[in-house]
Amino acid sequence: MTAALFERGLAFLGALLVGGTALVQLKNDWGSHGLDAAVTKVLLGLMAFGCVLALLAAINVLGGGS
């Protein structure tokens, strides 16, 4: 098992875990009010999107390279 495959596997599983948790947190906090809550919601959403990108990278759908 090469290092790259190991990294990809970890990235795949991690993306599911972290991204999933981020989305659950986002859903829970959806109704909160205030500027800090709004900024947090936006950033959590973008972070979840980042996990999607990492997942797609892990399974080679996006991005080239090793």
Partner: protein
């Protein structure tokens, strides 16, 4: 881990909302000021991202071909994907830390904050590893110029963030923050999420595009 339900969160927040109007107004102003600061930081990164995209689109090949004729290598996407998860994970742990603070779970707060710091350091170590093994140099090409400048700026922001989180950990345990007055923690969380999201952009732009 205490994941609050929707009604719970607002009820808890309401219970501990400060009854001190001077504090509330001051906190409002500091929050707005901090969000504006993050906005200006976004502009800073955006300008360098613009420079990267401009330089990239002004040559027919990317990675560019050097003067000696050989093509520069692409980046290691697998490692970066993993390192990205490390950083995103630290964002989630930070969120848990804040939730536990608001629910007065001091021990869980400490646990999640320390995890965040640890993951942040792990990310930085990952970046150091990547820099050490990089096949391109900062001054050798526009690819190196944009990559190392942007990821370096980002890494510096992460480093400062880690320092700030350590300060917050110490302050929180010294009793500087209370369940109703904890603006420093809020600012730290927003900053940490912001640093995360900048990385989303950089990860896409350098490794996936």
């Amino acid at each position: 881990m205490a994941i609050a339900g929707l009604a719970d969160h607002d009820a808890v927040a309401a219970r501990y909302k400060s009854v001190d109007p001077v504090y509330e107004q001051t906190r409002d102003m500091r929050l707005l000021g901090f969000v504006f600061f993050l906005l200006s930081d976004v502009v800073l990164f955006s300008m360098f991202i613009f420079a990267y995209l401009y330089l990239r689109s002004s040559v027919p090949n990317w990675p560019p071909i050097t003067a000696s004729g050989h093509r520069l290598p692409r980046f290691d996407t697998a490692f970066a994907a993993w390192n990205s998860i490390v950083l995103f994970g630290s964002g989630v742990t930070m969120h848990f830390a804040m939730e536990n603070w608001k629910h007065l779970n001091r021990e869980k707060f400490n646990f999640w904050l320390v995890s965040t710091i640890g993951l942040g350091i792990a990310f930085l170590l990952g970046q150091a590893y990547e820099y050490h093994n990089a096949a391109i140099s900062w001054a050798g090409s526009t690819m190196g110029a944009s990559f190392f400048t942007l990821t370096g700026m980002h890494g510096f922001h992460v480093f400062l963030g880690v320092l700030y989180l350590v300060v917050l950990l110490v302050q929180a345990n010294r009793g500087v923050y209370t369940p109703s007055k904890y603006f420093g923690l809020t600012a730290g969380t927003l900053y940490w999420h912001f640093v995360d999201v900048i990385w989303v952009a950089l990860f896409y732009l350098f490794y996936l595009m």
